[in-house]
Symmetry: C2
Subunit: 150 residues, 2 copies
Amino acid sequence: MTHDESEKNDDFFLQNFLPFLLNQAAERASLEFQAVYKGRYGMLRTEWRVLFHLGLFGEMTAKEIGERARMHKTKISRAVAKLEERRYLKRTRDEADRRAEWLTLTPAGQAVYRDLYGVAASYDARLLGLFSEKEAALLRQMLRRLAGVD
Amino acid sequence: MTHDESEKNDDFFLQNFLPFLLNQAAERASLEFQAVYKGRYGMLRTEWRVLFHLGLFGEMTAKEIGERARMHKTKISRAVAKLEERRYLKRTRDEADRRAEWLTLTPAGQAVYRDLYGVAASYDARLLGLFSEKEAALLRQMLRRLAGVD
DNA sequence: GGTTAATAGTTGATTTTGTAACTAACAAGC
DNA sequence: GCTTGTTAGTTACAAAATCAACTATTAACC
């Protein structure tokens, strides 16, 4: 486990260090897609994620989005404000618990969601094209395990 | 490829969308280790990476680090400044090309590197403990392919 | 029912990142 | 050797993320 000091130019460890590898892959994999929602709608990743969740799951509270996406509530709060400002979503106070509010996409927001969903799906397919069906399934399973979802 | 609109509460796609999964896994996988270099030495990820590269490869220029780690030069510039301020590295002008400078760890920097290398190695081993040898090898290979290294 | 604690979400201050412009040094072409 | 272009690294400014403190509301407990 100790590093051999007499030997330099050893990139064995670096090439295999999982947090580094994961980060490189994640960064690269989100780069191209980021260019789409940024370029096409001027959105940040946080905003895209919130929109995405609302598109997939329908009505949600900010808290629920935060739990699912593992995003901090301040990020969500600001993303929601931005999406509302652009008329992509609307808020409705929960009358039973007036602290919470239900978020839903407007028709305009749904249109954006559908557009980006399509782009995301084909981008995903392209990434998965690097692997066989079996490999892809295993990869996703392993990533889920690392993420602590399973 | 079109999203089925009549059906809500569909988290199938989300659970499988590779950029999302990769990001979740990467974030989770770096979290605990980040706590170590941050808590123990008050370092940021950029600083840890620069230190790590210098520890692994010995003397390097900022440019080389940037290429290997795929970090932008401003990040590196600031990380180097911070590490120098803490006396973890020293700079030497390249006399043949006076624009470039060679960076090396000081003994203090090397001590930090050795400490963190040990932590990183055992942390990595723990992560890999989630998988079999075969799976782990495949995972790394797939991540490298996604990162565009291979 | 009044006090205390917890929760949903927002805001402000600080830190970190990203982008563009910059300096200093080298290289190429003429 | 002088212009033009390129490169290594820094700096300034804008954008974004983080952290702590805040408001408003609900829940818990005595």
